[in-house]
Amino acid sequence: MRRHFQVFRAAARASIEDYISQPLWPLFLTITPFAFALVGVVLYKDAPRAVFALYVILGSGAMGMWSSTLDGAGYSVGYDRIWGTIQYTFITPASQLWIMAGRSLIYTAVGLLTLVEILIVTALFFGVQLTIASPLAFLLAALLTFLAFAVIGLLLGSFFMLTRVAGHWQNAFSYSLYVFCGVMYPISVLPGWLRPVSYVLAPTWSLEAIRMSVNSGVLGDPRYLTNLGLTLLLLALYVLLAWYLQRVVEHRVRVNADLERM
């Protein structure tokens, strides 16, 4: 286990070092969610302050995290292929899953930049106002939301290694979670036939939990706990799926000699 943590930390550190070497990159990575969130700023500008904060500010954080995670997963798999670094990591005893986990954590964290940017814009022009009556519940839900995106990044990384056309999927998924997870509007807005997709996405539940935490006494609220529980359940499923996909990839690579052609 110690070895896994070492690999995890090393991959995270390498990702940070990579970002530091191109300091403007995070800004460019998150520019689209920032622009989209600005539309939210305009559309919500007459809403009550609490609603604004819950949907626009938090929503922008979620959008940023998703965009950064998705691009990060695609980027890391893609560049590993271009640079030819994937062979090297493959023949070390390190687990590919833990490497991806370390990277994913950093990519998701970078996405929070969007939240900061929107906070600044909002503070400058409108003033921010949000009281959180259940701060512990809020923190818990926020942490889980962050984790949700990071784990999805892990799953995506495994998936992108499986397919030779990762770029296609990266494009296809680009705004999908914005639509389904209720990042800037509640999922009740979605037509009935689309909602099942929302239900299998972990951030849907954790974001709902965050929104609940502005009220008091939420920590014991069964609905809140259900949201957290569902998030955790889905995350566990994603991790399992990522692990399984990773094994498939490893086996496929060794049988088909795909690694360079991937």
């Binding site: 689209t32 559309l43 705004y175």
Partner: protein, 263 residues
Amino acid sequence: MLRQLALLQRTSVIVFQALYSWLDPTAYIIIKFVVPFFQMSFFVFLAKFTLGPDKLAYVAIGNAVQFVAFNTLMGVAITMSGEKWFGTLPVLLTTPASRLLMFTSRATVHVLDGMMGAVIGLLYAGLFFGVSFAQANLLTLVVVLFFASLTLTGLGLIIASLSLFIRDVNQIMNVAYLVVFLLCGINFPVEQLPVWLRPVAYVIPLTYGIEAARQSIAGAPLAAVGNQLLVMFILFLVEGVLGYYLFLQFERLAKRHGTLEVF
């Protein structure tokens, strides 16, 4: 004249193959059908919640028509940048007229493909987002879409000229697209922008194109949008000429400073 057109048609087909050879059918379908669906959906649902179901059509139409920008703003910028331009510029064709021909043939492909994007968006608007085309004046709409697509290529050329100097054309292109997306009355009227930003919206042809599209779907005849089409065309000429001039200048500078290696 006829011969010029024939040449234009021939080079356009070749250019189309060259431009899209890097794109396989799956990628094309994803970029043309899947991504726009999700992008549109997000803003339509956002509008549904914040503005109410009766304002949906405004946002849906805006989002649909702006898809022309994918091709005529971004596409042009990509295909006119660096290696894609210099790499395929035939050695024989070095006169300014030939350059114009090369640009025109590429732009033609983008204009038509851009219209396709808007049409797909409008189909989604009709099928999924409850926009009614019952009153629409189809002739006006088609002309408006054509103008919307065509007139943005001037800006596309300006951005392309910038990209001759800057390594990462994708970033500039992306930023340019997002600026257009925020300012051109796609999700909210230009009047809701801060006063100092409004002039920028008014020099982008798409702003008028989107408004004209909304009118044509409401049933306006061609004459009713005549003024907007005229403004769009004038902006196109101005921006096109400026872009062309800038492009040639930067091309010369890039060659002199050897920044071509940057590509």
